[in-house]
């Protein structure tokens, strides 16, 4: 019995250790304000593309620079710079999640996730339910 207890204790201790270490590594969904207050940490920021501001992508000049303006859920707008190509159909995205950190007044994103509405409307105006899968 003794050793069983010992094993259990070690297991629980490791599990707690894993949880703490993981939580230390986990990011969180925050706003631009929090991101600019903690410029060293990486955050997930959720928001909407600001349509009236200029989106910049000139592949002929730099294929790896795409910038746009996003408004977070608190209503704050910031410029976002992404090192990569412009995602397709970006203009039509309903919601944008950017992952990265604040640097010199603009948000430097390492990843962009977009949520597009299912806009497959065919000629007859059939608007299907959301596409059920993205495998």
């Amino acid at each position: 019995m003794k050793r069983t207890h010992l094993v259990l204790i070690i297991l629980i201790a490791t599990a707690i250790g894993v949880i703490i270490a993981t939580l230390g590594d986990a990011s969180s969904y925050e706003t631009f304000q929090i991101a600019s207050d903690n410029p060293k940490k990486e955050f997930h920021v959720v928001g909407k593309l600001v349509q009236k501001e200029q989106m910049e992508y000139n592949p002929e000049v730099d294929a790896n620079k795409f910038s746009f303006f996003m408004q977070d859920n608190n209503g704050k707008t910031s410029k976002v710079i992404y090192k990569g190509t412009k995602p397709d159909h970006f203009e039509h995205s309903e919601q944008v999640v950017i992952i990265g950190k604040m640097k010199d007044e603009s948000f430097h994103a390492s990843k962009i996730l977009t949520k597009c509405p299912s806009k497959y409307v065919d000629k007859e105006g059939i608007n299907p339910v959301k596409d059920s899968t993205k495998y």
Binding site: R3, V7, I10, L11, T14, A15, V18, I19, A21, T22, L23, D25, A26, S27, S28, Y29, E30, E42, F43, H44, P59, E60, D62, A63, N64, K83, G84, T85, K86, P87, D88, H89, V97, I99, G100, S110, K111, L113, K115, C116, S118, K119, Y120, K123, E124, G125, I126, N127, P128, V129, K130, D131, S132, T133, K134, Y135
Partner: protein, 812 residues
């Protein structure tokens, strides 16, 4: 008012839905009968036999119904009956026939059906082979079938919709004015189409294998439930051990095929991304792996029986949990794989709790009965290290599940946690020490003896392997400039695991029993060497460094992984001269030809060259979907995909000609006009008309041409716009030089002043074609595949051997 719709094929759908209901009811009957039979059997009552028979009949009916559902659905998709939502949503007319099968698992309903099929097949095998365990085992299998069949039921119970029926009609699923027209089908000419990512040969084979793997985890679970229920703790191992090995082999193969698919056809650049769906299939595998090892300990020494029950049973529970995660929509943004919610999350959760409750209750009530050897494992014994290894695997599972479940924690506790910003790096960092421990254990545990072994023996046996692997790790680590000592440690332990298992293989070569186990351990070690080198030394080579001189700029450029290639304008990449040669379309794909020429650094000549054709679909719904193309060499792979292409439509819609400019010439004096790149010289009027216009000028009052010399760097040409007066009407014929992009016509000739007015139009310069692409070099990636295949073969051999072993025991 009831409308009669024209052209619908309602029969196959009605048959299909009837079969779904039949399969559901038959599985309930089978569950009740087998459960009843189990209880009666336990009391030793003879009536159990008739209940068992009823259970069998119900289960066979269920099997027939399940296959019937598949045939109906196939018939609908094959015949392109787009009045059915499933066919419309997941297929289209241009879809090649062999991908019809992939349509099945694009939707949730089809993949649930696939799972049901495998359970049905496995249940059939179990009815034939489970013998005394049949009733309780089949009772659990039938319960699983009740759960799965209900997922595609699509019937309302007290206002709650149970499952989602794949035989729904388009007009039932969607609301649109068009469906009030009896002839609406005439307007639905084609389906929505299969996701281009699924149009891949791997996607035909990977889901069936993976789902067989998932389905097979039910068998150890069902047997162990039966053991606890019957309280018969003997002779179950002969069933559970081979089935556990079977499950490990198939699930492993399925995961591997998924990796191969991701590598061959997705553009994230790799075979593993720690995506929630991938994790969901890995965790049950790791649990079964741990359970297998504790089971072997139990078989040999009578210890760790309880941990065997826990680990093997949680394998299936984790499959259910994974299903809940990926299909309830809870993962939301965090996975590209996840299905969106079909409103079945509640249902999924209920089933998860039912199975947890059954397993939990059985374990709780029988916990103290489970036979357990009183002796404790010695610290130097093989069983201790095997048990320790199983615990390490458990911790690995715990970590992966904990991080993957972050969206669940947010739901439960109202937190706003997000997955680590660089998820891959996070998982790699945490799982690396686990891999190191496991690899060392595959060596040390195997050379240690059961019960007790001397430290000295273990050391003597392992010293050659220790020295060799240390040397290899140092040499390779140094040669590849490993920056990180953890990588060197992993490399060392992987080599250690490899060498010591090779040594064991050689020592025990005459003994068949250990062939399966050593082969799988060797495979595991080879795979990890491959994973380590191919990911640490993975190098993005598509970085444009032209015009950059200093180091700082080089470093900055390292993050910029996409390069723009103008058509026919080569760029230097890591010893290759890379040129984009152009594209060609084979509907619905566009293939981009990218030529790689290996340049010899000394002679500057081309050593060898090859063309890669990564393709892309410009999907109206999803945008550019890139399919990579990979050149496989023995030592490395060169992986290439396009990340962006110019909008061809914008190019073709650009106006062909710019606005014309007008020029005045003297009929007699030569004159010159400067255009953007061309010099145009008027050489005067001539009656020598172009041949094709001569016939049109017969009977004319005037027919003249203006001779215009087009001076370009590559040489001169003459253009002759023609001016004709016939029956007092003016006709002008323009002259076009396509090469120069020039079009000239005469507006007016004024004989009085001797002036001629000419319009000159230049062609809009065509936007130059380009692609933006990414190229990655994966060194030694073949070791990953080699290792995986070896491991799967090893597991298969072990399964065959164990089956034979138990047969032999029975005969003795």
């Amino acid at each position: 008012m009831d409308l009669t719709f024209i052209g619908e094929h309602l029969l196959p759908g009605q048959i299909g839905h009837a079969l779904i209901i039949l399969s559901f009811i038959a599985s309930i009957l089978a569950f009740i009968s087998f459960t009843k039979s189990s209880f009666l059997e336990k009391k030793g009552l003879i009536e159990s036999d008739s209940w068992k028979k009823l259970g069998r009949i119900s289960f066979y009916t269920h099997i027939v119904a399940v296959f019937g559902i598949g045939i109906s659905l196939f018939y609908i998709i094959y015949n392109q009956y787009f009045e059915y939502h499933y066919a419309w949503q997941h297929s289209s007319k241009i879809l090649p026939t062999h991908y019809i099968i992939s349509c099945f698992w694009e939707g949730q309903e089809g993949s649930f059906w696939l799972w049901t099929v495998w359970h049905a097949v496995l249940g059939f095998v179990l009815i034939r082979t489970a013998k005394t365990w049949e009733s309780p085992v089949l009772s659990i299998v039938s319960l699983a079938q009740v759960a799965l069949s209900s997922m595609i039921l699509g019937v309302y119970f007290f206002g709650y919709k149970l499952g989602s029926n794949p035989f729904m009609l388009l007009r039932e699923v969607m609301q649109a004015p068009i469906f009030s027209r009896p002839n609406y089908l005439e307007f639905i000419t084609d389906g929505n189409g299969l996701n281009p990512l699924l149009q891949n040969p791997w996607m035909v084979i990977h889901p069936p294998v993976l789902f067989l793997g998932f389905a097979s985890t039910l068998i150890p679970f069902a047997f162990l439930c039966a053991v606890l229920f019957k309280q018969e703790y003997k002779s179950w191992m002969e069933k559970v051990l081979p089935w556990t090995l079977f499950s490990l082999m198939i699930l492993g193969l399925g995961v591997m095929m998924g990796g191969a698919w991701a590598y061959e056809s997705l553009s994230f650049g790799g075979y593993w991304a720690w995506d929630p769906v991938e994790n969901a299939s890995l965790v049950p595998w790791l649990l079964l792996l741990g359970g297998l090892h504790t089971l072997l300990v139990y078989k040999k020494t009578g210890q760790s029986s309880k941990s065997t029950f826990l680990m093997l049973m949680s394998g299936f529970i984790l499959v259910l949990y994974a299903t809940f995660l990926t299909r309830s929509g809870i993962l939301g943004d965090s996975s590209v794989h996840a299905f969106t919610d079909l409103g079945m999350s509640g249902q999924l959760l209920v089933y998860l709790f039912i199975f947890v409750a059954i397993a939990g209750w059985l374990l709780y009530s029988r916990w103290d009965e489970i036979p357990m050897s009183k002796s404790e494992a010695h610290l130097t014994s093989r069983e201790f290290w095997m048990f320790f290894g199983a615990l390490v695997l458990l911790i690995s599972c715990f970590h992966i599940t904990f991080v993957t479940s972050i969206p669940v924690w947010n739901k439960l506790f109202g937190t706003k946690l997000a997955p680590p910003a660089d998820a891959e790096a996070h998982y790699n960092r945490f799982q690396l020490p686990i891999a190191v421990l496991i690899l060392l254990l595959t060596g040390f545990a195997q050379i240690a003896k059961f019960k007790l072994s001397a430290f000295k023996d273990v050391f003597v046996k392992s010293r050659i392997a220790l020295i060799l692997s240390l040397t290899f790790a140092l040499i390779i680590g140094y040669y590849n400039e490993f920056q990180n000592w953890q990588y060197s440690l992993l490399l060392f332990s992987a080599f250690f695991g490899l060498i010591i298992n090779a040594q064991i293989l050689q020592e025990r070569s005459k003994k068949l029993p250990s062939l399966g186990s050593t082969l799988s351990h060797i495979g595991f070690a080879i795979m990890l060497v491959g994973i380590l080198i191919s990911s640490v030394q993975k190098e993005v080579i598509s970085i444009n460094r032209t015009g950059l001189a200093h180091d700082e700029a080089f470093k900055e450029k390292d993050n910029e992984e996409n390069v723009l290639l103008w058509k026919n304008e080569p760029i230097e990449m890591k010893g290759f001269r890379v040129t984009f040669l152009g594209d060609s379309a084979v509907e619905p794909n566009i293939f981009y030809k990218v030529q790689y020429e290996k340049i010899n650094p000394d002679t500057k000549k081309v050593d060898y060259s090859f063309v890669l054709t990564p393709n892309a679909q410009l999907n109206p719904k999803m945008g550019l979907i890139a399919n990579p193309d990979t050149k496989h060499f023995l030592q490395y792979d060169l992986f290439t995909h396009v990340t962006k292409v110019p909008d061809k439509k914008a190019i073709s819609e650009a106006p062909e000609w710019r606005d014309a400019q007008e020029a005045q010439f003297d009929l007699t004096k030569p004159d010159t006009v400067m255009l953007s790149e061309i010099l145009l010289i008027n050489e005067g009027v001539t009656r020598d008309l172009p041949a094709d216009l001569q016939s049109k000028t017969t009977g004319s009052q005037l027919a003249v041409a203006l001779s215009m010399r087009v001076k370009r760097l590559i040489g001169d040409t003459i253009l002759k716009p023609v001016y004709v007066i016939k029956d007092n009407t003016v006709f002008t014929y323009d002259a076009i030089d396509n090469d120069a992009g020039l079009r000239i016509w005469i507006n007016k000739i004024d004989p009085k002043t001797g002036k001629v007015s000419v319009s000159i139009a230049e062609r809009t310069p065509k936007p130059r074609d380009y692609i933006i692409m990414k190229a990655i070099r994966f060194p030694y990636i073949n070791l990953v595949w080699l290792g995986m295949i070896t491991m799967v073969i090893g597991l298969g051999l072990a399964m065959i051997y164990r089956k034979k072993e138990f047969k032999r025991l029975q005969h003795d």
